[in-house]
């Protein structure tokens, strides 16, 4: 066979950016809906704070509002993005293959999507956390975007921390979906059993070596920012596993 039908390399642009644009076709799904829900969560919280402020005596008010810093209300948006990641794999991947995209370009374009969305939401949430501080907790001393899990450090630290959290949920969600795509139900069983065994194994190890206090201390010493930074290891591993497994995945069951 000769290769005379080869196209000049100039006509072979990468499909990474088109894949990103494909994912962003429906901005409502990736940006509109999450922001609206975020606004609703904020409004609901604000009403609850108002009720607390009205019903609690002035002495206990500060204590009560202090409790909101353990809020997990915006955790929703991370879960939502995990679902976005799962659908990108289970629905958009077979579609992209139908549009003659390589698995490699699909993965890179999807990773680019995760990076773009993570950066966007990190900016939004960091900005909201700063506003929250500047307005004294939206006028009521409430915490939504300055919960202790994130959003207590410097603006840069907050941004990085939220960015890493988003990346974690995106890539872990995608990795699980990729395992499902390739091995279906059996893959899921093996995967979750493996995760369970690993978790129990580590817990047992900590128990038998009496190292729970040390583990505890490590978390305290590392701090919220440090722990989030360590999540990058899991994120990178998920990305790597996702890439390797996806390269041999097929669009059909």
């Amino acid at each position: 066979m000769t290769t005379t039908v080869d196209t000049p390399s100039g006509t072979r642009p990468s499909r990474v950016v088109p894949v990103l644009r494909l994912h962003l076709t429906n901005r409502w799904t990736t940006i509109g809906t999450p922001l609206v829900v975020l606004a609703l969560i904020w409004a609901a919280n604000w009403i609850v704070w108002l009720l607390i402020v009205r019903s609690v005596g002035a002495d206990d008010r500060a204590d009560a509002m202090e409790g909101t810093q353990f809020s997990g209300a915006i955790f929703y948006i991370f879960v939502y993005m995990m679902v976005v990641a799962v659908q990108a794999i289970t629905r958009t991947f077979p579609f992209a293959l139908g549009f003659s995209v390589t698995r490699r370009d699909f993965f890179l374009g999807t990773a680019l999507l995760f990076a773009v969305l993570s950066a966007f939401y990190a900016v939004v949430i960091t900005a909201l956390s700063l506003i929250e501080e500047a307005t004294g907790g939206w006028g009521l001393g409430g915490h939504l975007f300055t919960a202790v899990w994130y959003g207590t450090g410097s603006p840069i630290e907050r941004f990085v921390q939220i960015l890493l959290l988003f990346l974690f949920f995106f890539f872990v969600g995608a990795a699980v979906a990729i395992v499902y795509l390739r091995w279906r139900a059996n893959g899921m069983i093996v995967f979750w059993v493996a995760v369970g065994v690993l978790g129990l194994g580590l817990a047992a190890l900590a128990t038998f070596t009496n190292s729970w206090p040390a583990v505890y201390e490590w978390f305290i010493a590392t701090g919220a920012f440090g722990v989030t930074a360590w999540s990058l290891v899991v994120t990178a591993l998920a990305a790597l596993v996702g890439y390797v497994v996806l390269r041999r995945a097929t669009p059909t069951a």
Binding site: M1, T7, T11, R15, T29, F95, T102, T252
Partner: protein, 307 residues
């Protein structure tokens, strides 16, 4: 736009050698060695489950072969952007992103198909009356097929695969598809592989025919060669037997003193002779030929040969 495939090229577009795909105990594609010539409309014919879709998935790099080799435009299609960017594979079971409407598909298509013709796509959308703003999940089976057909035609990919593209399409829409395909093919020659079991409808459009059954290639020939390659003779058993004595008989059926026999090609002199002998002479259509080749009887014969 730079033409990505010179239509004048005589190199094979697709070449497979002993290509095999096994899923556990099932061999979906079995020792397939075929060559697809450029600039032709090929029919990939066979019953449901014969291996048509699997073969096309192997040719488009969507699935991985268990043995043998595939070469498309001279290279393996698997993860090969240079090859894949010249392909368009319209699959009957194509999945779409959850929130997509047809307009979203058309908005993205130009990003992925270098030869995409939006004006042509718009004309086809009108022809097929496709509701572009309806959620794809809400489309009828026929509308879903129209969507695929429009993408496949307007992409003008140098190598286009249509896998059972007309499910749920009514006769009018199917005819529209055939007409538009022929018109556009005449103006923009390319290689088309059309998998179907509606053989009667498409047989006149095909230049080459590949018949697959149980993963094996049963027939791989030019459509014109196949026309008239088999003839059915009917009449009294004695007349039929006298005429067919010494010939290869593909199929024989008898009822009392009447007999019906299918034999190979007849020259016009032989045809005349048969008519003069008082026999009914009917050509065997491509559809009947495929049925005869992949029917139950043929299957038993093959299994016996294998033993």
């Amino acid at each position: 736009m730079i033409a990505t495939l010179p239509a004048v090229s005589t190199d094979a577009v697709v070449e497979t050698s002993h290509l095999t795909k096994r899923y556990g105990d099932v061999t979906a594609v079995n020792d397939v060695s075929i060559t697809i010539e450029p600039g032709r409309i090929h029919g990939l014919l066979g019953r449901n489950g014969a291996g048509k879709t699997t073969l096309m998935q192997l040719l488009t790099g969507q699935d991985f072969g268990s043995a043998g080799s595939v070469s498309v435009f001279g290279h393996s299609p698997v993860e090969n952007a240079r090859v894949l960017q010249q392909l368009c594979f319209i699959k009957e079971s194509q999945k779409y992103p959850e929130d997509f409407r047809p307009k979203h598909v058309f908005r993205n298509a130009p990003l992925f198909f270098d030869n995409w013709d939006q004006a042509f796509a718009d004309r086809l959308i009108a022809d097929f009356r496709l509701p572009v703003n309806r959620r794809i999940k809400k489309l009828s089976r026929g509308q879903l097929s129209s969507l695929g057909v429009i993408v496949g035609l307007a992409s003008r990919a140098p190598l286009t695969f249509f896998d059972e593209p007309y499910l749920g399409l009514d006769a009018v829409a199917r005819q529209l598809f055939y007409d538009r395909l022929l018109e556009d093919f005449a103006e923009h020659p390319r290689t088309v592989i059309l998998s179907t079991h509606l053989i009667d409808e498409v047989q006149n459009m095909l230049e080459h025919v590949i018949v697959i059954d149980e993963g094996r290639i049963l027939l791989d020939a030019d459509a014109e060669e196949l026309r008239g390659s088999a003839t059915t003779l009917a009449g009294t058993a004695s007349a039929v037997d006298a005429f067919t004595a010494g010939r290869d008989i593909l199929h024989r059926q008898s009822l009392g003193s009447l007999a019906q026999v299918t034999i190979g090609r007849l020259s016009s002199a032989e045809r005349r002779e048969a008519l003069e002998a008082g026999l009914d002479v009917t050509p065997v259509s491509l559809q009947q030929l495929v049925v005869a080749l992949s029917g139950e009887g043929a299957k038993t014969n093959r299994q016996e040969e294998e033993r």
